[in-house]
């Protein structure tokens, strides 16, 4: 079931508790979701705790609810959201890099691997896909 709002997303994250994809990571994220609330997610070697309204956080992510849900579901890339000015990042950018994996949805690494196996199956069936011969890449020359 896909949570469609921020609170449900964080509730599901808390219920998940341990994500093997986050092993080796220690730190805290704070999500300031505009017009909703702020949520702190502490990660300790894969174990996740979620606290609503807590201050602090090594990595602070500020965005609106719609973008958060879109990012969690892989419909919006976190980095391009930052470049577009839709998401503000502060603090530990290294932690931000591991963002995919703390929220449920196909953003988590474990799920992505699963999803990918599915895709690979499909792809094997469509291997002889037609190609566009005109589409040439940008050359690395001026």
């Amino acid at each position: 079931m896909k949570p469609k709002n921020a609170r449900a997303l964080f509730e599901q994250a808390a219920a998940g508790r341990h994500n093997p994809a986050l092993e080796g990571i220690r730190g805290s994220y704070r999500f300031d979701v505009e017009g909703v609330s702020s949520f702190r997610v502490d990660v300790d070697n894969g174990d996740i705790t979620v606290t609503e309204g807590a201050a602090g956080g090594d990595c602070i992510i500020q965005c609106d609810e719609q973008d958060l849900v879109r990012i969690a579901y892989g419909q919006q890339n976190l980095l391009t959201a930052v470049l577009q000015g839709r998401v503000r990042l502060e603090g530990d950018l290294v932690l931000a890099q591991r963002f995919h994996g703390i929220l449920p949805g196909p953003g988590s690494n474990a799920r992505r691997e699963e999803e990918e196996k599915e895709e690979k199956k499909e792809e094997d069936q469509q291997e002889q896909a037609a190609e566009n011969p005109d589409a040439r890449p940008r050359r690395r020359v001026a």
Binding site: L83, Q84, G85, R86, Q97, R112, N132, R139, V141, A142
Partner: protein, 687 residues
């Protein structure tokens, strides 16, 4: 860059102007102030009394600073100007410019000095393709500064321009939306000056600095970073040689490498090499890895940052737009508007099939040089993911070789090897090889990566089973490769296997990388070394990317006949690895001779014309310069000539130096041994 342009740079911020210091950019050239892949100024001109200025001379004082000596144009050579203008520019998060006007006459001069400014906020990709902007430009005047801006949804970029008073005798500045106008009186034999600050601003993005980093007489680059240029040069080994020009090439390389340092957001106080000016001032997987490898005996810390940052940005999922897969190491990272709105895939883009094995190669080589076991532990997870990528994703059809074919058919790269122009992988008859393509050097890198990862697994990760498995796989790969890629009647390795597993039979420089990787059977190495030094491949200056006589050969074709310095440096290392000392020395000598004609700065590539015909190396028209791995090439050539190899806790020195270089010493080579010296004499007669 053209000789008519003057560049100053600092990481991904750079200013390219004409020799007057002026910027008048057309939509398709790279004049301008660029910051994080966006052009923040497309016009920046100075006129005095309505007249534009003529250059007397231009000094590139440092890579981050330039000075322009100018006079107002008189329209005739017979009239002396009584005014001089000096512009001194240093780059930061924008730039700072000191503007001084001197009056040499006995009369006071009442002058109108006009600075025109405009910004098109073009993405670097748009500059190349002359695309239209989708958002809106605006400008406003606030707090004594002119703000030029651009907005598309919530994507906002601004340029803030302001003037502060220097030692002036009178002043009246007016700011309007076209720029700044000063109405000043300069007394007889007096001078007037002001300071102009231009800041590239991304609203909402935290900046570590509140103003541009350089101010008056501040010659120290990046005070917030720690390593000044002087310190950087002082920390590098000292070169002593009987060949003066070699010393100049060495110093140029070190200085350019400092200039190309890029301080990534993920490690803001650590540097890694960006790929090149002007098009590639960003993180590239392949370029950053290979340049860091070249620089290991000189500035090993570049490799550490490269490994860390590439590890952090390692692929985690299947994303076809970005050609991303779990465990894959990225190709290119950009921050401009087209990337932000996913009109281009560089956020980051993963379309490179060699970066992942090369990441493992660099990790091992870095430990061998520095003894920094910490990073091998720190990156164990990433290294294991890279190994899994090789087997599960790199090898798409399970034939034991890494092959590539882009999934992003619109803006992805067709060739995902270092020769990444669309027409580089051709048969001997010139026809293009069908996809997917498994180029030979990637198989070599994979072999090397597995051998090296086996060492890391055994010594650091305590995983003997993995170590033994990798060694078995490497040995099997080598066995199969020497049979599947070998072309017996021409006695070299195919450039690639194509989509139908046919050998792509053009003779190319790629075979030299195979020697570097160690995948070549000993009984085939002689033939490879002979080809590399034969007239068809070797131009006299270096090994061509493709041999003369092949159907696709073009001496000024980007990857099908030009000579690439970095390519040659790795080939020289390969020749040394297999014991071809004289041949390695020959390649090194050719390249270092060419460097002299380029004033010590080897370009990305130069033409493949035979040396005996042109007498000097012919520049390739659009080559990037300085380019990181061309900058690193002389460094790796020094390593090849001196035969520098870490063995256990010591540095092994085994010189094979051309007889034309009487004496070559490299003093204070940093590594796990502390500092060590290498001495050599030119005893190798060239073939």
């Amino acid at each position: 860059m053209s000789g008519d342009h003057v560049s100053v740079l600092d990481g991904s911020t750079f200013v390219v102007s004409d020799r007057r210091g002026d910027i008048e950019a057309s939509p398709t050239d790279t004049l301008g102030l660029f910051h994080r892949d966006t052009r923040h100024l497309s016009r920046w001109t100075v006129s005095v009394g309505g007249r534009r200025l003529d250059p007397l001379s231009t000094d590139d004082l440092h890579y981050f600073m330039a000075q322009f000596f100018l006079v107002p144009g008189t329209g005739t050579v017979y009239a002396d100007s009584t005014l001089s203008v000096v512009r001194r520019r240093s780059v930061g998060d924008g730039f700072h410019e000191d503007l001084t006007v001197q009056n040499h006459s006995a009369e006071p001069a009442d002058l109108e000095i006009r600075i025109e400014a405009d910004a098109d906020f073009a993405d670097l990709f748009e500059v190349k393709d002359a695309l239209m902007k989708k958002g809106e430009r605006y400008s406003r005047i606030e707090d004594g500064r002119l703000v030029l801006g651009y907005r598309r949804d919530r994507f906002v970029r601004e340029t803030w321009i302001s003037a502060s008073q220097g030692a002036s005798t009178s002043r009246d500045v007016a700011i309007d939306e076209r720029g700044l106008v000063f109405r000043v009186r300069v007394e007889p034999h007096g001078e007037w000056s002001t300071c102009l600050d231009v800041r590239a601003v991304i609203p909402g993005r935290t900046s570590s600095r509140q103003s541009v980093k350089y101010a008056h007489s501040d010659d120290t680059p990046r005070p917030n970073v720690g390593t000044t240029l002087e310190q950087w040069l002082a920390d590098a080994p000292q070169l002593v040689s009987s060949w003066d020009e070699l010393g100049q090439t060495y110093e140029r390389s070190l200085t350019d490498l400092a200039a190309l340092r890029f301080f990534p957001a993920l490690a803001p106080d650590q540097a890694l090499p960006a790929a090149g000016l002007p098009w590639f001032m960003t993180l590239f997987g392949r370029d950053s890895i290979l340049t860091s490898f070249q620089a290991l005996p000189f500035v090993p810390e570049l490799a550490r940052t490269t490994l860390r940052v590439l590890g952090l940005r390692q692929g985690t999922r299947r994303d076809d737009f970005r050609d991303e897969e779990p465990g894959k190491i990225l190709h290119e990272f950009r921050e401009g508007e087209m990337t932000a709105f996913e009109e281009r895939p560089q956020s980051p883009y993963f379309g490179a099939s060699d970066t992942t094995p090369l990441f493992l190669v660099l990790l091992d080589e870095y430990e061998r040089w520095t003894g920094d076991a910490g990073i091998v532990h720190e990156l164990e997870r990433e290294a294991r993911a890279a190994l899994r990528w090789i087997d599960e994703h790199g090898d798409r059809d399970g034939d034991g070789y890494i092959e590539y074919e882009r999934r992003n058919k619109e803006t992805g790269l067709e060739n995902q090897c270092w020769k990444d122009s669309w027409d580089s992988i051709r048969f001997a008859d010139g026809s293009l090889a069908p996809l997917p393509r498994a180029t030979c050097e990637i198989q070599g890198y994979t072999y090397d990566a597995k051998v090296r990862a086996a060492r890391l697994a055994r010594l650091f990760w305590g995983d003997l089973a993995l170590s033994e498995r990798l060694e078995r796989e490497a040995a099997a790969l080598k066995r199969r490769f020497n049979s599947d890629y070998w072309i017996p009647d021409r006695a070299f390795f195919a450039l690639a296997l194509d989509g139908e597993k046919r050998k792509v039979d053009a003779l190319t420089s790629n075979i030299g990388h195979l020697l570097w990787s160690g995948i070549v059977d000993d009984d085939k190495a002689d033939a490879i070394a002979r080809h590399l030094l034969d007239d068809k491949l070797f131009s006299g200056w270096g090994v061509r990317t493709m041999a003369e006589g092949e159907g696709g050969y073009n001496p000024i074709g980007y990857h099908v006949g030009t000579v690439w310095p970095h390519d040659n440096a790795f080939i020289a290392m390969g020749l040394r690895r297999y014991g071809y000392r004289a041949q390695a020395a020959r390649v090194a000598q050719g390249l270092l001779d060419a460097a002299v004609y380029f004033h010590g700065r080897l370009p990305e590539a130069f033409a493949g014309y035979p040396r005996r015909r042109t007498r000097y190396p012919v520049a390739y028209p659009t080559a990037c310069s300085p380019q990181a791995w061309a900058t690193g090439a002389p460094l790796l050539l020094l390593r090849a000539m001196l035969g520098l190899e870490p063995v256990g806790e010591r540095l092994l020195v085994d010189p094979a130096i051309p007889a034309t270089i009487e004496r070559l010493e490299l003093l204070g080579i940093p590594g796990r041994w502390g500092r060590s010296d290498a001495f050599g004499r030119g005893r190798v007669e060239l073939p």
